[in-house]
Symmetry: C2
Subunit: 317 residues, 2 copies
């Protein structure tokens, strides 16, 4: 259960006077979510999600909220922050920053088809295109320095075999991150199955933009493929991967430099999540609920990627 | 049938490359609408309405499209123009300005209940509030000068009795328009039953902003009451009117000056539509499809309003 801040009906109804979305008719806590408090809010004008931010601050939040508004205004089916009467996106509840966004329809899927993967690829390319005009800078907090620092922390916890693998893959990723000819812009870099909603066959939503930043588009594509097109055994499913990449490429054609960097980005993208899961497992934050995910899934992906570069390269259209 | 400009699937699909809303899956002409060509557009990301503007120009349109985006971004359930890759709201099809807006759910209702009227009142007040921060000027093209000019044109067509009524009401309205103490801002001034959508019991949409402008809020409220709360015989239904005005007042309390001007605004609002309907009836535009609505409905409202000022004043909370 993740309602860290409890809200009463009357207090939310009063808080809504800072908006122009009608009066509150229903308030319901949302049990999922790890870091923030979320409520479904139904008013006379529509359905929304109210978030009370437990960690992100009022200084940090505008970048994310304005990005979502920017993308939603260009047809990306993401949560759209509702503007307040005082003209910002950020209010305050119980002394914490709080926002309202539109509630999306649909649910996440766990067994994606090639059709679903194609929709995800098209959506990702559209999101990259739509983000071109969102130029507020935001470096990736999980960039090269984070890779190096995290690897140093977790390496002593690993078997000799895995420690050697980590060192090799880190060197490989750091070399890839030095490439300067890869185009980029706004990236989601967490477009996993649980962050995409489908309503029937149609992709109806993309959520959770709090890892978004400015980085290489190809890296985002690689991270997406590593989740949507990989089996439980950590092996790439070529049919799904080809469908996703082809749909992406149709909207934003990959450049020659991106083709050359593709395999390296798939490996770097897998390493990124192997590292963070290792870190979360070995260094749980005090008082944190236990949400640590299994790092071995990404270790397997890393090993499979290393073993079959030709297969990975062959995924490109 | 009002598809003046015929569009082919392939040409719309190609045109959508200027957007980030996915690829076209369905295109369907919309038969309603008097002045523009409208199509329902379904893409892999959502449902939209494509409008080819047959009269409004690329210079005139941004005020309306930016207003809708402004209101939609503040939770008003109005069509939300989709931003293009080149960052405007306006494209071009067959040499005419064209836009895409989100498609709203719901349908208009012809027999509003007091509950529906309360929702309309709340929505109108929220729209007035949300419009406060939209400060781009736009005078009402149907202001005092239009009243005078139109009355002059239609008066010779009327019976002596109606001509006398028109002259009296015009003088009364012109006096009301001289009041300087009425607050205002963005107004819809065409919030009739056919411009509001309901999904079940809930107000799900407000459409057709092409009469919107900056004017007195009370005038907008009067025009809305004159449609939603009037019987077929042109008589006010006090229960519906009280529900609408009370819900409005709860969000944006009426001022003392507005209370004093209320009856005059109801009469001026009725005269506005009596005049325009008389004009459309007696001076149809050449080549125009026949959509002229019956002016006598508003003549009856004018007469009823004149006859019962106490009842009108008593509608205020």
């Amino acid at each position: 259960m993740s309602v860290f801040t409890t809200l009463e009906f009357a207090e939310v109804d009063a808080w809504l006077k800072g908006y122009t979305i009608g009066h509150l008719t229903r308030l319901e806590g949302i049990a999922s979510g790890i870091e923030n408090t979320n409520y479904f809010v139904t008013t006379s004008h529509g359905e929304y999600v109210l978030t009370v931010f437990e960690k992100l601050t009022a200084n940090e939040l505008p970048w994310y909220l304005e990005l979502m508004a920017h993308l939603a205004g260009r047809g990306i089916p993401c949560p759209n922050p509702v503007g307040r009467l005082d003209d910002g996106y950020l209010g305050e509840l119980k002394g914490k920053p709080a926002s309202l966004v539109t509630r999306l329809r649909g649910r996440s899927i766990t067994q994606p088809t090639t059709t679903a993967c194609a929709e995800v690829g098209e959506l990702l390319a559209d999101m990259h295109q739509a983000g071109k005009s969102y130029t507020k800078p935001m470096a990736n907090p999980r960039g090269a320095a984070w890779f190096a620092g995290t690897a140093e922390r977790v390496r002593p916890m690993l078997s000799a075999d895995n420690a050697a693998l980590l060192v090799e893959e880190l060197g490989f990723a750091q070399a890839a991150f030095k490439l300067t000819d890869l185009p980029g812009g706004v990236v989601h870099v967490d477009l996993f199955r649980d962050n995409v909603l489908f309503e029937g066959e149609r992709l109806s939503g993309v959520i959770d933009f709090y890892f978004a930043c400015q980085d290489r588009w190809l890296y985002d594509l690689a991270i997406t493929v590593n989740d949507w097109c990989v089996t439980e055994a950590g092996e790439l499913d070529p049919a799904r991967a080809q469908a996703l990449v082809a749909a992406y490429h149709k909207v934003r054609p990959l450049t020659a430099a991106e083709r050359a960097a593709w395999v390296a980005m798939l490996r770097a993208g897998a390493l990124r999540f192997w590292l963070s899961r290792l870190y979360d497992l070995h260094f749980p934050r005090p008082g944190e609920l236990t949400h640590a995910k299994d790092p071995t899934h990404f270790e397997r992906i890393v090993r499979h990627h290393r073993a079959q570069p030709e297969l990975l390269q062959g995924l490109l259209p």
